[in-house]
Amino acid sequence: MDREESVRAIATRYAALMSRGPLLPILHAVQDAHGSISRPDVVAIADVLNVSIADVHGVVSFYSDFRTTAASAPAHTVTVCRAEACQAVGGQALFDQAQAMFAGDERVDVREAFCLGNCALGPSATVDGRLLGRVSAERIATAAEEWTA
């Protein structure tokens, strides 16, 4: 099945499953399956839902979770919390260190988050979705070593 067929199938399935407001669940599912939501994906989803392309594009561009690049998603994601509770225990420095650690490495996407809900055990980060508490740059580096191994 090519990408457009797959995106149409996802949109059709969620539209049937959810009688009300299926767009966000569709966008999450498309991104989970394909790593991003590309322009042709937006056109296909709009067609299935019978709404305008602008309506879908507007939603995709509003939310920071949605990745719009056509290129495939980076192999790994490191997210570091930059919100106040983590700032109080060095979160900003950790974010800067993580950015420096993976600078120039196209396989790794270093993202900021504003609160991961782990505020008593900060600084907090996720490595490929796994939440880490009381985290240090060394611990992120250790987790990343598995990728090069």
Binding site: M18, A83, A88, C119
Partner: protein, 523 residues
């Protein structure tokens, strides 16, 4: 058979609880049960063991659960020794309920948290679950609203609006379709109570939504959870499926004639969705821009229909009010802030976690008695209460009682109960800049004071941080704050000036030419 309770809570997992659970599962004659966290996050992974032989000292707590003894900060290598040594192991805490950190709390919304299996409706029932729903069915819908009114329950999302007033409005609205929406878009830094409750006791929210549905005549519900909470999303979805399988969702629930079903919806990384009208737009599949009010959501909410939008904690508190009577709840707290608040101790604090106690506890009690001061061991300088839109309270004002009225009177805000501690290395001018930066990033963009004001606020604070034309820039910042406060459509732009102004008022020494020189800026 020894039963070992290991939290599956995301915070506990973030410091190794999964590995600890696996290590115990490899020991002979051990059954591992995954629960939520009790809230003593500083002691995670905190494992409780039932049926240790020899039994650890008295082992009997005054309340439930009998014979469960806690062990703090375990690592996988400890499993064998903990089982062999019991109370003689250095990690032994004794019964968790008897621990001073626990005994001083008044747990009402969180009685089951960390105790029950969050995937089991029958375990929920064994610990008092569904009793509130059954009590509600024994009276008329309007009597349910009366009970919530008598309890004094106010919205726990931050605004503190009387819950029963909202419910009465929806109940009185004419519509064939009405909705109950639980707001679990808990984006405030320093807050995690919604998350812990979803992961540790998800059925209390479902039961609260059932009671609300009965009270106002709603048939559909949504629980909106932020995407940063994947553990909570999974736990809540499991719970919804289990509740449906047990007949607590769907048609003719428990023979009551009530039809109600609900869906879990996941956000996509937008702080503004915590604002109720943005959340409704997001569920509808739109850009999460704030709506102008009126019309209020209680009359024209989700898809244009009358809608109860309550914070998840508000809904999870309702079953206990119905089960134990509104008077018991109203007896807790202060004159107009009735009941309990779930305070979340976070940031630079030695013993962070979830503290449920009556409104009116002082900030000092939380930060020093529960929290044990800073984790760094340095003096406390500031405490931000109420999330990124809350004020920075100076260390000199820690005696303030935490209730809606006392906080508002002092120019602060209680919000969703987040308490973030900073030591004396914090630069409040930088924190003020961050408040504006956060607003600039997260503004929905609909109104100009918030969208443009926050961006100008960042630029102005950059000048102030560098010591450039301090007088003129401080005057401009004050002007921006006034415009944002008075002209913004919602609390995002309207309250961002609160942390900024509190920093200016209480930490003026961080906005001086000397402070700029210390940062290495030009003057």
């Amino acid at each position: 058979m020894t039963r070992v309770f290991v939290p599956g809570d995301a915070a506990a997992v973030s410091v190794g609880a999964d590995d600890v659970a696996a290590a115990f599962a490899h020991q002979p004659d051990v059954e591992v049960v995954r629960t939520g966290s009790r809230g003593m996050l500083w002691a995670e992974p905190l494992v409780e063991i039932q049926g240790l032989d020899p039994a650890p000292d008295s082992g009997q707590s005054a309340s439930h659960p009998p014979g469960r003894a806690g062990f703090a900060n375990l690592s996988p290598a400890d499993a064998e020794a903990v089982l062999a040594l019991g109370a003689r192991h250095t990690a032994y805490l004794g019964p968790v309920d008897d621990h001073p950190w626990f005994r001083r709390q008044q747990r009402v919304t969180t009685t089951r948290l960390g105790i029950v299996d969050p995937s089991s409706t029958s375990d929920y029932e064994r610990h008092g679950g569904w009793a509130g729903f059954r009590a509600a069915l024994d009276v008329s819908p309007s009597q349910v609203v009366d009970a919530v009114m008598e309890s004094g329950l106010r919205g726990r999302g931050g605004a503190g609006f009387p819950t029963a007033v909202k419910w009465r409005t929806v109940a009185g609205a004419e519509s064939s379709v009405k909705f109950i929406c639980a707001n679990a878009d808990e984006g405030d830094s320093g807050t995690f109570a919604d998350r812990m409750l979803m992961e540790g006791d998800p059925f209390s929210t479902i039961e609260g939504m059932l009671i609300a549905a009965y009270a106002v005549g709603a048939s559909e519900g949504f629980i909106y959870i932020r995407s940063e909470y994947p553990h909570a999303v999974a736990a809540m979805r499991r719970a919804v499926d289990a509740a449906r399988a047990a007949g607590y969702l769907g048609h003719d629930i428990a023979g009551s004639g009530l039809d109600f079903d609900l869906e879990v919806r996941v956000g996509a990384g937008a702080y503004i969705c915590g604002e109720e009208t943005s959340m409704l737009n997001s569920i509808e599949g739109r850009r999460a821009e704030v709506r102008s009010k009126p019309p209020i959501p209680a009359l024209r909410g989700l898809f244009g229909h009358p809608t109860v939008v309550n914070n998840l904690l508000t809904l999870a508190t309702v079953p206990g009010i119905l089960a134990d009577g509104p008077a018991a709840y109203a007896a807790l707290g202060t004159a107009r802030s009735r009941g309990t608040q779930l305070f979340q101790l976070a940031g630079n604090v030695a013993r962070g976690g979830l503290v449920e106690t009556g409104f009116g506890v002082t900030l000092r009690e939380l930060v020093e008695d529960f929290g044990g001061g800073t984790r760094s061991g340095r003096p406390v300088r500031a405490v931000q209460v109420g999330g990124p839109l809350g004020a920075y309270v100076p260390a000199s004002q820690l005696e303030i009682p935490l209730d809606y009225e006392s906080m508002a009177e002092a120019g602060f805000m209680l919000g969703h109960g987040g308490v973030v501690v900073f030591d004396d290395t914090v630069d409040l001018a930088r924190q003020a800049r961050f408040a504006m930066e956060f607003c600039a990033i997260e503004s929905c963009g609909k109104c100009t004071p918030c969208r443009v004001g926050s961006q100008r606020g960042v630029e102005t604070l950059d000048h102030i941080l560098a010591g450039r034309e301090l007088g003129a820039n401080l005057a401009l910042l004050e002007d921006l704050c006034t415009t944002m406060t008075k002209g913004s459509l919602c609390a995002m732009g309207g309250l961002t000036p609160l942390p900024v102004r509190s920093a200016l008022t209480h930490f003026a020494e961080d906005f001086t030419p000397e402070a700029a020189r210390r940062r290495g800026g030009a003057s």
